[in-house]
Symmetry: D2
Subunit: 364 residues, 4 copies
Amino acid sequence: MLMFLDDYSEGAHPAVLEALVAHNGGQELGYGEDQHSRLATARIAAQVGRDCEVHLLVGGTQTNLTCLGAFLRPHEGVLAAQTAHINVHETGAVEATGHRIVQIPTPTGKLDPGLVDQALAQHQDEHSVRPAGIFLAQATEAGGVYSGEELRTLCSHAHARGLWVYLDGARLAPALAVLGARLDLIASCGVDAFFAGGTKNGALCGEAVVLVNDELRRDFRYHMKQRGALLAKGRLLGIQFARLFDRDDLWYRLGAQANAAAARLARGLRDSGVPPRAAEANQVFVELPGDAAARLATAVRFHVWSRGERGTLIRLVCSWATDDATVDRLIDEVRRALAPSTATETPPGEAPESGTMPGTGHGA
Amino acid sequence: MLMFLDDYSEGAHPAVLEALVAHNGGQELGYGEDQHSRLATARIAAQVGRDCEVHLLVGGTQTNLTCLGAFLRPHEGVLAAQTAHINVHETGAVEATGHRIVQIPTPTGKLDPGLVDQALAQHQDEHSVRPAGIFLAQATEAGGVYSGEELRTLCSHAHARGLWVYLDGARLAPALAVLGARLDLIASCGVDAFFAGGTKNGALCGEAVVLVNDELRRDFRYHMKQRGALLAKGRLLGIQFARLFDRDDLWYRLGAQANAAAARLARGLRDSGVPPRAAEANQVFVELPGDAAARLATAVRFHVWSRGERGTLIRLVCSWATDDATVDRLIDEVRRALAPSTATETPPGEAPESGTMPGTGHGA
Amino acid sequence: MLMFLDDYSEGAHPAVLEALVAHNGGQELGYGEDQHSRLATARIAAQVGRDCEVHLLVGGTQTNLTCLGAFLRPHEGVLAAQTAHINVHETGAVEATGHRIVQIPTPTGKLDPGLVDQALAQHQDEHSVRPAGIFLAQATEAGGVYSGEELRTLCSHAHARGLWVYLDGARLAPALAVLGARLDLIASCGVDAFFAGGTKNGALCGEAVVLVNDELRRDFRYHMKQRGALLAKGRLLGIQFARLFDRDDLWYRLGAQANAAAARLARGLRDSGVPPRAAEANQVFVELPGDAAARLATAVRFHVWSRGERGTLIRLVCSWATDDATVDRLIDEVRRALAPSTATETPPGEAPESGTMPGTGHGA
Amino acid sequence: MLMFLDDYSEGAHPAVLEALVAHNGGQELGYGEDQHSRLATARIAAQVGRDCEVHLLVGGTQTNLTCLGAFLRPHEGVLAAQTAHINVHETGAVEATGHRIVQIPTPTGKLDPGLVDQALAQHQDEHSVRPAGIFLAQATEAGGVYSGEELRTLCSHAHARGLWVYLDGARLAPALAVLGARLDLIASCGVDAFFAGGTKNGALCGEAVVLVNDELRRDFRYHMKQRGALLAKGRLLGIQFARLFDRDDLWYRLGAQANAAAARLARGLRDSGVPPRAAEANQVFVELPGDAAARLATAVRFHVWSRGERGTLIRLVCSWATDDATVDRLIDEVRRALAPSTATETPPGEAPESGTMPGTGHGA
């Protein structure tokens, strides 16, 4: 069974694993004060290229809830696309810290100044929460990538209205590869805080939070500890991020590799007559007609995004570990699913095995 | 300036005030254990007509957050219409207790089994909150009233899916007057918990919570105390509710009075060429063409509900204290606003003085 | 049965009730924007005598949780005496807003700079909460009153350490009467925020929050609304506080009246051979030997504070409504309880009827 | 510089690391549904020896806040020793989930039925939180170990009062080694939920939660996800725990190894004239007279527990990685510190370099 479910099904990239093995011995201080964490955060800060604070956390939901919980006062809420991961796939983690997510419907998963202003217009007095910041994802859960220009415009628009901008970078490496940019781009566009994702880009776990805005930095380690996000053996994160952000730009290269696999897949789909709807970074969204998705599901695991009258929109995710041969096998399976006579028979109408839940996949 | 902003601009009904004066002397136990609170809750329970627990709280937002905070476990959320008061006008009070409101778009402000099932279909595993209950308002914020049949269907549908039903009865008295029913209707339809609103129906403050479902009762006084909702001088609530639910059915009659005023207003609007969009209970929603709303705002305070291309939808609320003469003056003002030549000039395009925020009014 | 349980067993002071009756008619804006609330808050601000913001809330627990929830960031805690009301009698209301109360053991219920520093020494890094402020009660739950000098010292000590000072003034009127002072004293000593209690001093309900420190004012009405503490018919609070702080100094006089009753009681106890342990303001703590408390409980309701080998420490609370005759009857009952042969027999060892829970009374 | 600060300064045990390397390749399902996690939880459940649910989380604070947040309803609190880790070194993580920790002073860090009943006596009505469960640590933060008999008594006492018992097993392996027992002991004593610590016993990260009591299991994965405790690449935890609980009993043996090092250290201290105060499992608490601790701190890192008139109580922690030679070097350093003339001179009175904060060490 081929797996194109998500980008966290793999283990660590071999180079990251080697680093873990190489630095396993000896004693280190706990809670992120070890030499590896210091090295990793220094490397990341250097690449951000401006004054900032860097912290290493374990996972994406943890990072989102720790950051937003730290940034928001009780009566404040955060604006986010209705499809945002924090809104649909984190089990109310932000609400559990006491805060409302102000949901903004947007077909592309992207926010823009007009959408922000519409939301603000609905929140003008003490009978509504006070919007304090904007949550973006780069790449978005729907596969889109904000251009530098879009980010800059959105950030300056937000700042003019007293809002900060927080960017979920679970898939930041592929997004930066699309833009041909590096970490400094994000901060230079005005993003106040963001994280550079490790889990989906070569690490076993780990997200590197970058706090640019001085006001958002205060006492961040307290918030980490309180949310259970201050790892005792911080070296586990330090070693991985030090390696990912080492001189060979491993983290950036892995993002580009994932995109290359996705691009190959997109070409194959186009050639097969099912051009993908969106495939900017490492996620490919394609609508398969009729029962094709159900047939494909007998050979491939993927997430069903939505079901419509004409077919099923599915998500196929590539990672740094997806090789060409696997992509090509997937394309073959898609062709077989599209031309059922040549494939093993699947009873029409049978639901795909995976992704029985419409909506974004868990790791979107 | 006429005021049709809401139904909490008046003081207490004279009979309620008299009761407060009559029972002011002497000492009483605190925290709802006084004789008046015992009498009031016994009267209400008797009218509910089945085993239940009754508690007296101070206000609507307090009641909603105390009840929902008590009923929900941390990972659970409550389904509610997108226009629900808890969703748009309570400053994230439910989220501040740690819970997500699962918003359901519905043009009428009413939920039905199909809408519930659609929402449930989006919440099927541990990556989403677990819907545990349904929030209804009777009457709804958009002025509608659930029939007994609608309530019964919705409750049995909910129960079959393991959901409880909680009903916000800030305007329950007018709603019951529409239905020609009494408190027993609500419980007999299967509603698990609800409150009978006092603030908007003759009291200075106070909402009487009725817990029918045994599982939702556990330790409710602890929750009240923790949320600051256990009034020290409980007699303030006890005296008022004992009076409202005394033999003369004051509480029911006041709801009917508010509806009568709204009906007179609705007739007047119809006769003036602007038939109201909804006027089931004591709220009248009417769309005024062009700048008529702006002109009306020079003489009348009201909430603007939404602005469209053809005009402005406004809300006019009547209460038990709204007399015929005042309604007739309002109708005159509406006519004047509709035929500007006969009225004091208002610069066209000027925004209404009140209700600058589109959306539901605060007390909706 | 005589009742000396607490100071919230009475109704409203007649003058307050009269004001409610006098101003019941007519329409007013909701949510504290009515003319009475504006008048009340202006009067209180004038008496505070410096720039401040005044808000009217309903009850003490509600006020404490709204204020502390607003002032504290998630990782911050508040220092308080172990006997503080928020620590022992508010059902974890502060914790329910997400914050730790750092408990400081203190026999008198009073804090001082040394105790504060000891607590700070235990909270020095991100593995502990960050103490952000100090909770005081004036009068304290144990009946003590901070002198102006004590308050000033404590506030300047706190400020030097980056802490704000919040003062629970549920019994502020009696405390100020002890000091011969007015509201301006509290602010002039450096207290950053406090409330002037109405519930225990002549009102049916209501606490007036005074925010002196500019940083603690931000968006306070949002916090009120979110906690269910923004009363719809704000006039109920406005009318009462406008009357209490009218030119005749009713609020101050009621505090002095309660103290006078307590002083008469204290003299009587002393003359009866049981000098009270503490009786600074309107609460009298006295230890009754042997089974005297049990005997007294057959005729008087009161709270048992603690039980020891030599006797039982009880709390007797006087209010503005406690007249001399009632105090004298209480003293007679105490004498009878101390000399059982002249009283109706009580089986020795029987527990007092009320106050079966050792610890502070609920309204302490 | 020797390090006896804690038991999380080491990397992974080599066998655990080898397993991570061996199973790094290939794709696995995310969020704990991978084959390794299934294997690990099955092995642990088998060793518990009764019906239970096992979940793998990342760290100790995360585990405590996820479990207690899941088990408690809003108005409920948990009883814990004043020295409990959740009370002193988790930055109010439990309070941040909305719950009070009811602190019980106990010199040994151990709870017993009498202490529990005293606490319950202070929490009898809705003005206090409702105690719902008991938090224990095994071994305790002060180095003690509950015997099976003590646990059994405490659990049956708790159950008789409607309380559950939750046991923090960050150092469960050393504790079980002391008792010569295995995981089945904990459940057989009646503990309702506990975790078997990996971080301090050979893993890079990870705590295995065992839910025995059926009522505490409900929807646990929802709680994990909401708290950011459901690791995307669950294999990281699965592989480690599958290895630790493999047939060679690695997890148990590592606990015994840590104890053996501590026992060697205790003997050495005794022979040096400073018999340790407590050294039941892998933590050794010893009081060094005069300035000896300050001198020792020039060569060894450790935590200062408390400072008294006669000397300084320090904590020395051994782990599975502490070899005999290192222990012997530490003993030499202690002797040198005790007999300063033979050692490099240290200015008397200088504070130890590490552990400047009295109280339990962070990882206690």
